[in-house]
């Protein structure tokens, strides 16, 4: 099994929900997610943000769906860090 440990995403989002609410909603997707958001560019109605999400086993589909639920649009996956895990059970 391969676990996603860290992803860096480039996201276009509306100003609302704001950066704090946006990050909090993403952090709520998992029980141990650490979300780091940086606003890269600001427009009249939108902002481009870089999201760095770290966790033990990141569920990318849930992250993507939460981004869409909040009106955001995923532009690119800029970095990923994955780790294989041998299932001995």
């Amino acid at each position: 099994m391969v676990l996603v440990k860290r992803i860096v995403l480039d996201v276009l989002k509306p100003h609302q929900p704001n950066a704090l609410e946006f990050s909090q909603a993403l952090a709520r997707v998992g029980s141990d997610y650490l979300v780091h958001l940086t606003v890269l560019e600001m427009d009249e109605n939108t902002e481009t943000v870089e999201l760095v999400i770290t966790g033990n086993a990141i569920n990318f589909e849930d992250i993507q769906s939460t981004i869409s639920d909040m009106g955001g649009s995923l532009h690119s996956i800029d970095e990923v860090e994955v780790q294989s895990e041998t299932n001995n059970g």
Binding site: P14, Q16, P17, E21, E44, M70, G71, S73
Partner: protein
């Protein structure tokens, strides 16, 4: 997310908190002044049966409620659709399934409910003494005067709320709205008293 949190979230992302507050005050004030005006009109007229007064006031209250509900829904729906269109254009994507799409469907309903219920509920509270009197409950003052007292009290409370929003003295806000009510009552007595 609880229902209340969800509602707060939708109001926050559409920045409609202040619109709802404004609608509540403006239409609540409308309801209270209209009821007070109607009742003063009955006081200065030939004495009418209590049921006639209740029906006239109730008719006006329902009309105010329906007017508030429908006008706010129609105008707020148009505003939300317009705002969503602008955002979709900026995002170059369909946002109907997002929180913004949800807000464009639910916020007009919330705004309409506040705009319609504020005058209706305030009017019904003002009419309470009339119903109580009709039901045979003995009141310390005549029912029409009791209704006017409730109207003035509610208008004063709305003023306190305005004072709280404006961060001015609560009492000053209350006295301001009360003065408007007293002025209105004076004008009705002056013009309708003959």
């Amino acid at each position: 997310m609880s229902l209340l949190e969800q509602v707060k979230f939708l109001l926050r992302i559409t920045k409609t908190n202040d619109i709802i507050r404004r609608y509540f005050v403006v239409n609540g004030f409308d309801g209270a002044l209209t009821m007070m005006g109607l009742i003063i009109g009955f006081i200065v007229s030939t004495p009418a049966d209590l049921s006639v007064i209740i029906n006239a006031c109730l008719g006006a209250a329902i009309a105010l409620g329906m007017s508030g509900l429908s006008s706010a829904y129609i105008s707020e729906s148009a505003e939300r659709q317009h705002a969503l269109g602008i955002l979709e254009e900026a995002m170059i994507s369909d946002l109907h399934e997002s929180a913004h799409g949800e807000a464009s469907r639910w916020v007009p309903i919330l705004v309409a409910l506040v705009n319609g219920l504020a005058p209706l509920v305030i009017s019904l509270l003002i009419l309470m003494p009339l119903w109580l009197s009709k039901a045979g409950v003995q009141l310390p003052v005549p029912p029409l005067y009791a209704a006017i007292s409730i109207a003035l009290f509610l208008i004063f409370l709305l003023g306190l709320f305005i004072g709280h929003i404006a961060k001015i003295s609560w009492l000053r806000g209350g006295i301001q709205t009360l003065l408007v009510a007293v002025l209105t009552a004076g004008m009705i007595f002056l013009f309708a008293g003959h």
